[in-house]
Each structure stands twice: as C-alpha cells, then as structure tokens.
C-alpha cells in the first residue's frame, strides 16, 4: 500500500467521521471501517508512525478503567496520547482512533477476541494481559478458546514486553512462553476470601492437571494458588498492592510496591477490582520505563471512566453508574456496594443486545443474593427486565421491593423521583449507553463520545 493511497483513504475516513458526527449517530468505529476497507494496512502504517510506539491492554474486565489510569500516568510523564478512550476496541475503533488523533504514543485497549490480529498490526512495545473471566459465551465462546489464542500471541510476541497478572493462573500460565515477563498482583491476604465464589474458573496445573489449591481468593479465580503436587505456583510479582483499605464507593488506599520501592497510594475509583486495575496500570507504565513518582501521580489523578463507577449529580442526588456485564465483574460491583456505609436506591438494567450478550443466563451466576440483605426498593428495567426481577426473587429479594419498568426512561424517572440517598444504576453495556444518553439529554452528564 502506498503512502498516497493511505492518505486519500484517511481523508475519506475523516470525512465519514464528520458526517457521522453531524448525523448524530455517534459511531466511533464506522469511520475506521471505511478506512480499513480502503486501506487494509492502515493500522500497521499509522501505528509504525507513532514516535514513541504503543502499548496494548486486554482483559475480560477492567480494560477501559485500566487504560484510563495508564493515560493519566502517561500524561503525567508528558506524553501526547493516541488513545481509544471511548472503548471502541475492535479493528474499526482502533483504526478510527489512529486516523482521528495526533500524538506520539498509542494506548489501546483491545477486545479479547481481536487481540491476535491487532497485536500483529500494532506491534506494541508492551502488552498487558490482566485477567480472563467467563463473559458472553454466545459471543466469545468458552474461555479455553481465548486462552489458546492468547498463548499464540505471547509465543509470537513480536518483541513486546509481556505484563501479566500473577494472580490469574490462566494469564500467569502464559508467562512460560514469554521472554522475561513482568508480573503484577495483590500481596494482601486480608482482602478477598478463603472460599471460591460460585462459578469461579477451575484452573488446573498444566503438569499434572490437579486443581490448584488457594490460600486466598481475591476475585473469582484470581488469588494466591499453587499446584497441590508442587509442580507450579503463582509467580512472584514485581509490582504489587498491599495494605489495601477499601472505602466503599469513595475509593481506596494501598501500598504500591514497584521493585524495591513502596509508596502510599490513593485511588478515587472504588472497589478491589479497581485496585487490580491500578496495579496493572502501574506495571504497564513501569515496563515502559515511566518513573515511580509519575506512576503515583497518575494513579492519584485518575477518575472513573464513563459508566464505570462514574458519579453524576442529578436532581440534587448523587447518581453512580456501575457497568455490569459478566458474573465476576458484577460480583465485585455488588461486593463494593455492600461495603459502602450508605444504603442506596438501585436501578438495574438488563438488556440482551449483541453487545450485552443475547444470552442472559449469566445473571444467575452473579451473586445477586447479596441484595437480599438490603432494604430499599430495586427498580428492574431493560429488554429482559422481567427475567432480572425473577433472578432477584429467587435470590431472596422480597417481591414487594421489586419495581418493574421495562422502559428505561420511565425507570429512570421513577428512580429519580424516589426519595432516597445515592442512586446506584447497574446497567449492562448497551443499557449503560442508553442511561448516559438520557442523562446527557437532562443536561447532567457530558457525552460519552466527544
């Protein structure tokens, strides 16, 4: 492909982006698709032109938040970013980002399924693989398939420094195929639990196939594990979080250790899962040579990405939007809510569009039983609102506390009209976009896709 042809293609794609903006369709990946149709190697060419290279982040949970934290760190380091911050993480979105932004360093979150082909084209300096959980089985297939695909990516490597989660045996197990991987993890056995959550992955020793035994579970199958026959154990993590203090919805503090140095660190994004995202971001930045003081400053400056524990003032009330999309992530959101001292009004929205997963069975694997102990009404909405209410009923929530408003605008109006403290909205992905659109229309939120 000639430079000229890419130039023409990129102008067409930018024009398409402008038309889409005028039309109000808000599409973030459509112009990228136009570009790729005209110039199939546009991603490789644009990426190679980034003066300071790029880094790639993939995971089932936490991609957007982790890259938000990395972006703060890189900004503190004086880098101008090309970053798909709206979360458009397949080929079209990456191409559109590369075509629409100017900067010297690329930061890309990449969809789990698209990782092999995009890594090949992007040639990242570092690749962060943070976790793998069951997610939208109708779309991604079973987890084993993703692990196999990722192993190929690590093997072929393409010169990227691998940054791996020591606490996730599915990820750490890929380290055997990597050259000097950098591991991160949690070193605090006062958080998490000694028993596994329901439907946690059953990770096995690659040598003898015995199920790993755990001294501590942090999230799902993430924890401190070892083969009971002594073949394989969790690798030592070089970048860690310890002395973790979770403060409900207001955030957390922890000690971040980078090699030999330790730092008291504040994080304004709540929940243990976001401590993982922060330490993952620190590890990625460290692998890129960013200094510790910039890393600490970046983490402290990081704020929730849109829809990920984002808090907005609406009608005089605090309203927090916390995306739910799979059992592991939902469990962490519910655990964070339960640890908060306030009681909350809840609006839960279950949609079954392709981006949410057409199969809604996952809500039965999430521990909504945690809501049985709460007192306030729970509003159920979305295209599968009734089945959500059913899930809560069989989870032990009194039927009298369940209010059904399948139409989201009516549900939101009812939730805001209720006389309570903080309103917490738990939407699936497309529902999250709809909730934000309604809040933007009310003039209380800024648009997701600027």
């Amino acid at each position: 492909m000639s430079k000229l042809r890419l130039g023409v293609a990129s102008i067409v794609a930018r024009a398409a982006a402008a038309v889409l903006r005028i039309g109000g369709s808000g599409g973030t990946s459509a112009p990228g698709k136009v570009l790729l149709a005209l110039a199939p190697d546009a991603i490789a060419q644009r990426s190679a032109a980034l003066a300071r290279g790029c880094a790639v982040i993939s995971a089932t949970n936490g991609k957007t938040t982790t890259s938000t934290i990395v972006a703060e760190i890189m900004r503190a380091d004086g880098v101008t970013l090309v970053h798909n911050r709206a979360g458009a993480n397949m080929a079209g979105g990456i191409a559109a980002t590369l075509n629409g932004q100017r900067g010297d360093f690329g930061l890309f979150e990449v969809d789990e399924f698209w990782l092999p082909s995009l890594v090949e084209q992007l040639h990242p300096r570092a690749l962060l693989l943070a976790n793998l959980f069951r997610d939208q089985l109708d779309r991604y297939g079973e987890l084993d398939l993703i692990v196999d695909r990722w192993r190929e990516v690590v093997r072929s490597g393409a010169g990227a420094r691998m940054v791996l989660n020591a606490d996730d045996p599915l990820i750490a197990g890929l380290g055997a195929d990597a050259d000097q991987p950098l591991y991160f993890g949690i070193e605090d056995e006062t958080v998490g639990s000694t028993v596994a959550q329901h439907a946690a992955e059953q990770a096995c020793c690659p040598v003898c196939s015995a199920q790993f035994s755990y001294s501590r579970y942090f999230i799902g199958h993430l924890g401190h594990y070892a083969c009971p026959n002594g073949h394989v154990a969790r690798p030592t993590a070089q970048i860690t979080a310890s002395e973790i203090r979770l403060r409900g919805l207001s955030g957390s503090s922890f000690t971040l250790t980078i090699g030999q140095e330790s730092f008291a660190t504040e994080l304004a994004i709540p929940g243990l899962y976001n401590v993982y995202n922060a330490v993952a971001a620190a590890a990625l930045a460290s692998s890129l040579g960013v200094s510790s003081d910039k890393i600490i400053a970046g983490i402290a400056a990081a704020r929730p990405a849109f829809g990920r524990a984002e808090t907005i003032q609406v009608a005089g009330r605090e309203c927090s939007i916390m995306l739910i999309k799979n059992p592991a992530g939902t469990n962490e959101v519910l655990r964070t809510l339960a640890s908060d001292e306030e009681s909350h009004d809840l609006l839960i929205v279950l949609n079954d569009q392709i981006a949410d997963g057409r199969d809604i069975s996952w809500v039965w694997d999430a521990d909504f039983e945690a809501l049985a102990a709460t007192k306030r009404p729970i509003i159920c909405s979305g295209s599968r609102a009734v089945e959500l209410a059913l899930r809560l009923k069989y989870g032990g929530v009194e039927v009298e506390r369940l209010e059904l408003y399948p139409q989201l605008d009516e549900a939101l109006a009812a939730a805001l009209a209720a006389n309570g403290g903080r309103l917490v909205i738990l939407p699936t992905y497309t529902a999250m976009l709809e909730v934000r659109e309604l809040l933007v229309a009310r003039g209380v939120a800024v648009e997701s896709f600027a």
Binding site: A199, R358, D359
Partner: protein, 248 residues
C-alpha cells in the same frame, strides 16, 4: 424409602455449571420450600459414588470441553451404575447441554470418542460447522402436562445430537436449532430421564416444567399447590418473545 421431600443430587457443580445451572437448582429448591415441601441439594463431585436410594432428582449441567472430559470419565467410572439404578426406581434424571450429551451413548470430539452413561439413546458429534447459538422455543408433550406446553430458553452448542431409532425427543422445535439444526427435534426423554440443550437457565422462565419435574420426582399423581407465578409467567412470555414467538 428414605426421607420425604425433594432430594437433589447436583453432579459436578464446580465443573458442570457453565450456563448458570445453579439457577435451575435454585428454582427446584425454592418452589418446594415455598410449598413447605422439604428440599435439599447435595453436591456429588469428582470421585464420589452416587447412592441411588438417596436422591429422587439428579441434575447434570454443562461444562467447558476440558471440564466435561474430566467429568465424563468420572461419570462412567464412579456414577454410571448409581445413575442407572436411580432412574430404574423412578428418580428424575435431568441433563442440560453438556449434561444431556453425557446422558447419551457417546460424544465424538475430533478423533476422540467420549463415552456417556447411555441412559438416553442419542449420539453426539462435535461439528466443524458453526455452533448452534440463540434463543429457542420448543413444544413438548409430557404426561399430565398441557399438550401444547412450550419451553423457551437459550441454546449454545457445538455438538450435533442424533436420536437413535425408537428414541423420543423432548419436544419439537418451534424456533431455534434444537438437537442438530435440521431434524426439528429438541432434547430426548425416556421416562423420567430427560436431556435438553435449553438453558437460560431453563427453569426460572418455565416454571410449569420445574413443577412437572418436582411432581414427577416426588410421586406421579401429586398435585402441587399453586404459587404466585406472575413474574415467572412474565419471564416465560419474555423468553418466548426473545425466541420470536408471540401471543404466548
């Protein structure tokens, strides 16, 4: 006869749980308790024998390929006899997705043939073709149930299952793929032994079928007390709509 009430054996709940199988168990348990019928779920895992006298409902869910392979070997080795005896003395044996496949004769995965327990006369072959994924609704004829009763759920399977001569499907596909995407058959039933690809999970949105399983497991002519099923019926209509059926 052992103690009264619904005594459920959940086989391999740690491995065979991929499509939210615990939802099915929760529905069976709660719908008994709401009627003041005792209900107990006991996990029977790898290496454990199955006592056929102890349970009147045996549940087997689906798993990922590796987990399913491990469980299949264990099932044949340690539980086949118990399962066959339990079915012979009237226990309900209910398998969903991978559990359905393992209740059959065998499951062919590439060049490997995994033996099942053979309680159902079906054979399954993993196809190179696309997985059969989507919302699904079937009409089924169960003894004592409404002859046009519908089950609605979600299916996601790479295996194609074929009924052998004389085997009866659980139902006819109204919408979706069913056993193999072409025959129009879904699931298989032989007496109290039932296999199906429908998850969702199946029982929350098909409470009539949950009650049929409970009544069949307890005693054939039992009439269960009615429950307030407003939400359950709403869920059933929503699952039918998702499968493209209207007016139900």
């Amino acid at each position: 006869m052992a103690e009264r009430g619904l005594r459920i054996a959940a086989l391999y709940p740690e491995q065979m749980n991929i499509y939210a199988d615990r939802g099915n168990l929760a529905v069976l348990e709660r719908r008994c308790r709401w009627r003041s019928i005792a209900a107990e779920v006991t996990a029977v895992g790898l290496g454990e024998k199955l006592d056929p006298e102890r349970f009147n409902l045996i549940y087997l869910g689906g798993g990922q390929d590796d987990d399913q392979r491990r469980c299949a070997a264990d099932l044949v080795e340690t539980k086949r006899e118990g399962l066959i005896s339990a079915a012979a003395i009237g226990a309900v044996v209910f398998g969903v997705c991978g559990g359905y496949q393992l209740l059959g004769r065998w499951y062919e995965l590439g060049d490997q043939r995994i033996d099942g327990v053979g309680l159902l006369d079906v054979e399954t072959v993993r196809s190179d073709g696309p997985r059969l994924i989507g919302n699904v609704a079937i009409e089924c004829h169960l003894p004592g149930a409404d002859p046009s009763a519908v089950l609605a759920g979600f299916e996601n399977h790479g295996g194609r299952t074929r009924l052998l001569a004389g085997a009866t499907p659980l139902g006819r596909v109204l919408s979706g793929h069913g056993n193999d995407g072409v025959s129009g058959d879904e699931g298989c039933r032989r007496g109290n032994v039932i296999g199906t690809y429908l998850h969702g999970p199946l029982l929350p949105a098909n409470s009539w079928f949950a009650d049929w399983l409970i009544a069949t497991a307890l005693e054939d002519d039992l009439v269960l007390a009615e429950l307030d099923d407003q939400l359950e019926l709403g869920g059933h209509r929503a699952a039918c709509r998702a499968a493209g059926l209207s007016g139900r």
